[in-house]
């Protein structure tokens, strides 16, 4: 149930982002809603729910982007695996540490997509772009993560933990 609610929240946030960002020029600071969700679910709810979330938000992101087929899913699954293996080494106790981890994950995402392009196709025509946008996107995602964490914690306290 929790995973379903969080995946629907993710879907709504991504649809909102796709339609809002078109009206406001936020190219440089475009946040990523999928990664904070994946990290939250994997970290606090376990690998199983995390994997389901990856599949849901991964395919939604793929549907709303012209990124080459499989690239977004590859990056999200990689981040899911890294989070699963780092679970015992990382300590997230507040929304701030969660935001920091999400920001680092965005930088990692950029590096992963670059690595994937170079390994699989031998070229990355938008490498400069990806590197240029990595830090601003990480900052905006960090900021958005604060709200996502607070919102999910509120949902947990108000509705979801009652089950």
């Amino acid at each position: 149930m929790k995973v379903l609610v969080l995946s629907i929240t993710g879907l709504f946030l991504m649809l909102l982002q796709a339609s809002i960002s078109f009206h406001f020029s936020i190219d440089l600071f475009k946040p990523d809603f999928a990664i904070p969700l994946v990290i939250y679910v994997t970290f606090f709810m376990g690998a199983g729910p995390g994997f389901v979330t990856v599949l849901c938000v991964g395919f939604i992101e793929e549907s709303l982007s012209i990124a080459p087929a499989g690239s977004i899913m590859f990056v999200l699954v990689s981040i899911f695996l890294i989070t699963t293996f780092m679970k015992n080494k990382l300590y997230i106790d507040s929304r701030y540490s969660f935001a920091a981890v999400s920001s680092v994950a965005i930088v990692l995402e950029s590096l992963l997509i670059l690595m994937l392009s170079l390994l699989a196709r031998g070229e990355a025509p938008n490498a400069l772009h990806i590197l240029l946008y990595a830090i601003p996107s990480a900052l905006s995602t960090g900021l958005v993560s604060l709200f996502i964490y607070t919102f999910i914690e509120y949902l947990n306290a108000a509705y979801l933990d009652r089950e």
Binding site: S21, L64, L81, A120
Partner: protein
Amino acid sequence: MKNSIAIILAIFVLAVSFLSFTNTPLVVKTFTGVKQGLGLAIGPALKIVGKPTGWIGNGFDRYVNLIHTKEENDRLKNRVDTLLMENQKIPELERENRSLKGLLDFVEKKPNTMIAAKVSGEDLKNWFHSIIIDKGRSSGIREKMPVITPKGLVGQAVEIDQWHSKVMVINDVNSSVDVNVEGKNTRGLLEGTGETTLKLRYVVKNDEIEIGDKLSTSGKDSIYPKGIPVGIVITVDRNKAGIFSDIDVMPFNNFKQLDEVLIVKKQ
């Protein structure tokens, strides 16, 4: 145990997405099938979510416009003076008029070759430049169909779902358009840079081109029909090493302010 299964499945999905990225035929087909299946639901959902955000966006635009009304008034007064001087540029305007008429004829002669669509969103990732339109396969849109506005070229449809499509805008790094310089015998390849301006490549240094020249599609890339206005040359640098000039082009369309577009059906 549960965790191990999730990890094994994740590694399997990782391998599938890698193979899909490398264009392994069977994997790509399956992956795209799943993606398109999900696209069936995404299109209408985006339309519903896009409505209120559209109102918010328009409301914001109106508010910003109101703030700048006084400044705009002063600017317009100055503009009247400038326009009086610009009257001298009528021949140039006539040429532009002819070009626009060409586009209009193109539309009027073949009314059934155009599909109008509303822009409902843009790419989630800032690495790519694409817009999402509210018409898809059900409206007759297919891959590689050119997308235009009365101002000029927007791009081409690249991914088509049942109810919505994604259009790669010409400033995307993966976009290139074969163009002619209007009124001159110069041709080049216009490539996206991921930024507002575009780069005109493969124009030899002694080719005839200067700042202010207008570019239109040549029709030789078999994607875009001939004669669609694309942009205007803003810098020409012949001092760069090599045999080609370094040319920047400003597209006629502002891709952040598109509300409606026309999709040109292939004959």
